[in-house]
Symmetry: C3
Subunit: 228 residues, 3 copies
């Protein structure tokens, strides 16, 4: 593999890490379960959301994780998690902030993931896949570690679709010769806007099982899954 | 690390990915939970089952994932997932198909995983381990993402054992000088047949806790969730 | 990346793997859920706890997993898991042994993880992070695979903190020029002692949500954790 010449600017990467950390801490602070999270638990979720996307991207690309090459990533994610905890303590209604940050973070990690994959020579489809995994991977890790149903798996999310469309637009733009930075900005905007519109207008995909609805209606639900 | 000269033929790899994708979509379509899966959720499970084995194998081997070097893998997994959804809509009783496909997919991913590990110079035991992880890893990811109990962990599965025996036979055959392709075919057949026989005759491993049965008999099942 | 000259002695690594394997099997044997674990399930948890720390460390460092370069790691983890099952059958009260072994295993994996990361040139903060992930990663995998709430996420654990302090002491000592072996021993002792003291004196971190206690007092617990 040739030496990658492309480097996502540190400040851009740290913004994504920091926003992810804040978002994760806000989300975890709002968690109401039988077993509460302690401060450490909230901090871990903040770090998972801040670092997860970059780590998953670099694991899939088989390169040494950028997020572990400098002290700044972890310090930023940890500081952002603390800041998120303070915010959660100050405000009562944070849902809009959490959703908005989340949409932006998905856009950022998706764009960075796809861009890096393209620079490393991956074809278009896997490059988009890496972007989507980077975008939604942190959230999957968060849900699994917190024992919640994985958000992207359930009706009404449009998570992965938003990330996928944004990454596809970015990758197509780059293939067509658009400047890397402009393509990344377009991809981020597309993902963020789709995600926000989906939340605002409560758009969801058709249920797969509407195809054989009668069977479902007869059967009772035998495998309980957690409710959010 | 030397340059690997061994390449699993693309068509063989794509067959495994495609069958995995169909199996995953069928499995996910049959899922009855409180929260239904949408089409995207079913597609994600199809892609996880189609791509998971190869990704886990290549992560453990620390090589760039083969499944991300070409557009074909994701297109095949995605197309297979769609096909699986259609099949699930057409038929009412798919359990036999799901189990049969699953046995074959385990065999394929196990054989490819162990073969690639041996070519990269791993000793026999870890090569078998990589094969088993490739075989069962997709299913573990599926169960975790869907919020189901992990199938290989519970009485009556014989999942990992089937994969382990098949991979061990393959690896031993290769060490004894048998042609790589013949060894792979033998390994696939062994795993698939063991898995199918285990399902048909409902064979399971002895419970570990039969060893101290009395204690269990006295206690009721009181700790659904462990407290540390 | 330059060729790493540092090698954790095989015997030390195998001790960590073996103790992890025993601990995992003891833990899994003690599990009382609706769905019991069979022998294979107990063995898998033993192997996960024995191998998990090293695998996660090497994945994060993007190096070929040491634990897959020799037959000894898996044979040790598997043998230790079997031994753990026998122990669990012989004794009725194993909780103290499980907790003690766990504290030691966290210390060992943390120290090896941080040492290896420093040798590979990682800065201090990510080196500590790799150590903590190696220390607690096996337990997270175990909890996820067993369908349990992830232990490090809940009030009263002080798991990750013990690992973090030990790894930080180790890394700081190495930066100050202390011999690598002495630094590792100090790090192991610090982690193990903190973890044991936390268990003995039931020390825990302040709840993050004590910050807005009133809100919690009003609300009932609305997100049930799934019972399998």
């Amino acid at each position: 593999m040739y030496e990658p010449v492309f480097v996502i600017p540190l400040w851009a990467d740290l913004i994504a890490v920091g926003l992810g950390g804040i978002q994760g801490a806000l989300f975890a602070s709002g968690f109401r379960g039988e077993r509460r999270l302690d401060m450490l638990g909230v901090a871990i979720i903040g770090i998972v959301m801040g670092m997860g996307g970059g780590l998953i991207r670099d694991l899939l690309l088989n390169v040494t994780p950028t997020t572990l090459q400098s002290n700044w990533y972890l310090l930023t994610a940890g500081g952002a998690a603390l800041f998120g905890m303070l915010l959660a303590g100050l405000f009562q209604r944070l849902n809009a902030v959490i959703v908005g940050l989340d949409a932006l973070v998905i856009g950022l990690f998706g764009a960075f993931g796809t861009s890096k994959a393209l620079v490393l020579g991956l074809p278009l489809v896997p490059a988009v896949f890496v972007g989507v995994c980077a975008a939604v991977g942190g959230g999957i890790l968060r849900d699994v570690i917190m024992g919640l149903p994985v958000a992207i798996m359930h009706v009404g999310s449009l998570y992965a679709v938003a990330a996928g469309v944004g990454c596809l637009v970015l990758a197509t733009a780059e293939e067509l010769g658009v400047n890397v930075v402009i393509a990344a900005v377009i991809g981020i905007v597309v993902t963020t806007v789709i995600r926000l519109l989906a939340v605002i207008f409560d758009i969801s995909l058709p249920e797969q099982r509407a195809l054989y609805r009668r069977k479902v209606a007869v059967e009772t639900s035998t495998i309980p899954i957690v409710k959010h």
